[in-house]
Amino acid sequence: MQTLTIEMKLNGKACSRDVPVGQTLASLLREGFGLSTSISCGEGNCGTCSVLIDGRPVRSCLMLAVQASGRAVTTLEGLTDQLPRLQKAFSENHAIQCGFCAPGFIVAAAALLRAGSRPSEAEIRETIKGHLCRCSGYSGMVQAIQDAAAQE
């Protein structure tokens, strides 16, 4: 299989990898770098694999790893600014049960908070509408994101 060398900034650090052209970014992050990015549907329907590309949230299963070349990729681990208050708020609101979907939700929430907003409940629900939580912890998550925004 054809491989290409990519160079990207991953969670703030420059790195270089040889990747097969058919590998998704989600697979590279989880299997290649051992990061928390979860992989579930693989077709963009569940939002567990969301990461930031140049600061914008995207589904990493719907992007080839080679397309991350020259980009800044941020996973849950790289959200240094927002992670502490989001972790605290998610914990306090019992927003997570099994935790499988958490990396995607937290990345989406961090992108929303980074936009510098005090989002309304409707805006939060719009932001997380493409993310599935099979433990159905949605109400707790909405409250957690509101609490985290209020701590800014």
Binding site: G22, V58, Q67, T127, G130
Partner: protein, 288 residues
């Protein structure tokens, strides 16, 4: 598994498409293409990534709105919110999947791939947008009404690329899109898009498109003629609803029976029309 190339000029892209023909696929946003590859529906032998090609990522609003092949749906949405908040396209973009998908997905990609139920081909049809298509054989401008065939396929050859699309300005028209969907991220079961022009209290022109998972995006010519020159009224709305139900071509798909889709098409078409009427300043008649 496919091979991959990332050319930097449009001429290289055209060369690759001419060489590989139907065995190649263009990768722009990838939000339609990659799921089809992941689930095995498509097995291309080569992907040509156009994201590094200069001059394809642009939005330009002069007389018309022009959008280049690499322009993301979210960028167009933000641009229109600031410049043309009431346009039909501005109303349709936020309905597509969610903003993470729209951060990657391109307007032209959705227009060219035209998956059943997608909003953008329906908007292009309503506007009769102009699609600019290139290949080594030459350039051509195709109106959306020719590009989208009755069976839901698109008139683009394997060696061609949709480089940009242009939409007429609809600032002074009444516009509305309505749809019904089963889940947040699924394509709508049925939808209706309307562009209405009026003069002195009468409808001077209606453009109405029905689309959905079992419905190839199609203009409702009969319903459009019915309304032309008429004053909006409750009776006209009823006639419009019935005309759409009679006229629309629907395929049965799992979970969406054809009769149901036809019924909903009429209701959504009328609802969109009613909202477009409310937006048109010259239409003073009340529609209840």
């Amino acid at each position: 598994m496919f091979t991959y190339s990332a050319p930097t000029t449009i001429e290289e892209v055209l060369g690759i498409l001419s060489e590989w023909g139907p065995r190649a696929r263009i990768l722009a946003g990838g939000q339609t293409l990659l799921p089809l590859i992941q689930n095995g529906t498509l097995r291309p032998e080569h992907l040509v990534d156009i994201n590094g090609v200069g001059g394809l990522d642009f939005i330009d609003l002069k007389r018309n709105l022009r959008i280049g092949a690499c322009c993301r749906q979210n960028d167009v949405e933000v641009f229109l919110r600031a410049n043309r908040g009431n346009s039909l396209l501005s109303q349709a973009l936020p309905l597509i999947a969610d903003h993470e998908i729209r951060n990657r997905g391109t307007v032209c990609g959705s227009l060219a791939a035209a998956p059943r139920g997608a909003e953008l081909p329906a908007i292009a049809l309503t506007h009769n947008a102009n699609l600019h298509i290139r290949s080594r054989r030459g350039d051509r401008e195709v109106p959306a009404t020719s590009f989208y065939r009755e069976d839901g396929t698109v008139a683009i050859e394997a060696d061609e690329i949709l480089t940009d699309v242009s939409f007429e300005d609809d600032e002074h028209s009444g516009t509305a899109i309505e749809e019904i969907r089963y889940t947040q991220l699924s394509f709508p079961a049925c939808g209706a898009a309307v562009l209405l022009d009026s003069q002195d209290g009468f409808c001077s022109s209606l453009r109405l498109t029905i689309f959905g998972q079992g419905i190839p995006a199609q203009r409702m010519g009969g319903a459009e003629s019915l309304v032309k020159g008429e004053k909006p009224s409750t009776q006209l709305l009823d006639q419009l609803t019935n005309r759409i139900r009679k006229e629309v071509r629907v395929d049965s798909v799992p979970g969406i029976p054809a009769d149901y889709a036809r019924h909903v098409a009429g209701s959504l078409g009328a609802r969109a029309f009613k909202r477009a009427v409310a937006q048109s300043e010259s239409l003073t008649a009340e529609v209840h």
